[in-house]
Amino acid sequence: MAGKVHVTTNVNGEETEFLCEPRDTLLDVLRDNLGLTGAKEGCGNGNCGACSVIVDGRVINSCLALGVEAEGCEITTIEGVATSAGLHPLQQKFLEHAALQCGVCTPGFIVAAKALLDREPEPDEHRIRLWLAGNLCRCTGYDKIVRAVMDTARTMKETV
């Protein structure tokens, strides 16, 4: 067996290098090697979305990708959603709408919702629910989450 593999990638706009075993998932690498613990492991097999990250423009479950596959990719994690200018509108709306309770699914929801709004600025409620169906939340019943995303879309449209 080969040992560790050297990977060069871009995380949240910064060129990043790490060493990992082929069996380490992208989630393992982000959390353990790079200290980016915002993505959470809720299930480990792609059924809860808590580990959502954006890779080359697509939102994926980082628990079902290998760290070695990140070579040459551009990755956005929850840590890269807010900027020095402040919170992303989604983050602000999640706060205003009380769209989180325990908060452990929140990073995944915000990353997934960002991927949606980056692509489709004006999704309707059904589209939002369809897009976010891979993110499980057990606390909120989703009502306030969906409202927060709809309100974000509305606000972002007004400020454009």
Binding site: G46, I60, L116, A133
Partner: protein, 289 residues
């Protein structure tokens, strides 16, 4: 997860070489949504994972009105259903790829992976079958093409030999007056494995009141997705009517030989095979019209 090696060959030949060298201990990696989960759960062991995604042929997504559609084994479901040619010419393929897992899964999972994983409940395979798709593989003995209905041999097993891998899937150009439709039944509205799924592809006569020909396939009712030529034959030459469609549904029910597990019972699955066949044919007719 146990330890393994990872290689990302740049050509078909390199991939075949590494696969041949490692025999049954090598496995291709496309979107990873099945294989990584299986490795984590200890359901599969490999010595080397071979990433298909750096091979140009595996990234092909092309359409020609005469030749049809080619989808490389590394092309994600999102790339498939967002493709304008797929949307306009192969909506059933969009049905399937939009239903697999979540948006996160669709960003990685591929039709090729779904086919090679050979699950009886795979959501693209019935569609591939009814669209008359062929699988192009490469191996030590060169390339070959296999009709998708002959590709899966048992749960998790395919006709591919050690050293061989799936390069792409090819779909013929759709015939005039034809339409295809896929649907599945799941307890939730997303994020489930099909209790039963079904696809139908129909070609209507010029008046669009009778079936010229039809292909029907049903999943999760047998060890492999079932192609049901008799069901298609029951439609061919007959008028488009509830009675005709019911004949095909009855054949689907008769052909189903499911098991009971946590996703459904034998009785439920046989019943659903009929219900979904009926709905799939109706959907296909609507698209053909």
């Amino acid at each position: 997860m146990h330890a393994f090696d990872y290689v990302a060959p740049q050509t078909v030949a390199e991939a075949v070489a590494v696969l041949s060298e490692n025999g049954s201990e090598a496995r291709m990696l496309a979107g990873g949504s099945d294989i990584i989960a299986q490795l984590k759960e200890g359901r599969r062991r490999v010595k080397v994972l071979v990433d298909v995604k750096k091979i140009p042929e595996a990234n092909e997504l092309s359409f020609d009105p005469e030749e049809g559609l080619t989808i490389g084994a590394g092309v994600s479901c999102c790339d498939v259903y967002e493709n304008e040619h797929v949307a306009s010419n192969y909506p059933a393929l969009a049905d399937s790829t939009e239903l697999i897992g979540s948006i996160q899964i669709q960003g990685r999972a591929t039709i090729g992976g779904n086919l090679c994983n050979a699950s009886p409940a795979a959501d693209t395979i019935p569609t591939l079958i009814v669209l008359g798709a062929t699988a192009k593989t490469a191996g030590p003995d060169g390339e070959r093409e296999v009709a998708v209905e002959d590709f899966c041999t048992a749960p998790g097993q395919t006709v591919m030999q050690d050293g061989e891998f799936l390069v792409s899937v090819h779909f013929p150009a759709p015939a005039a007056n034809s339409g295809a439709y896929f649907l599945r039944f799941i307890p939730r509205n997303e994020m489930d494995i099909a209790v039963v799924n079904a696809a139908a592809s129909v070609t209507l006569n010029a008046e669009k009141n009778a079936f010229a020909s039809a292909r029907i396939a049903v999943g999760a009712v047998a060890p492999v997705p079932l192609y049901l030529p008799e069901a298609g034959e029951a439609l061919a030459g007959n008028e488009v009517s509830d009675e005709t469609i019911e004949k095909a549904a009855e054949i689907a029910r008769q052909s189903a030989r499911p098991i009971t597990d946590m996703r459904g019972t034998i009785e439920q699955r046989i019943h659903l095979a009929g219900v979904l066949t009926r709905r799939a044919v109706r959907g296909a007719v609507e698209r053909a019209g």
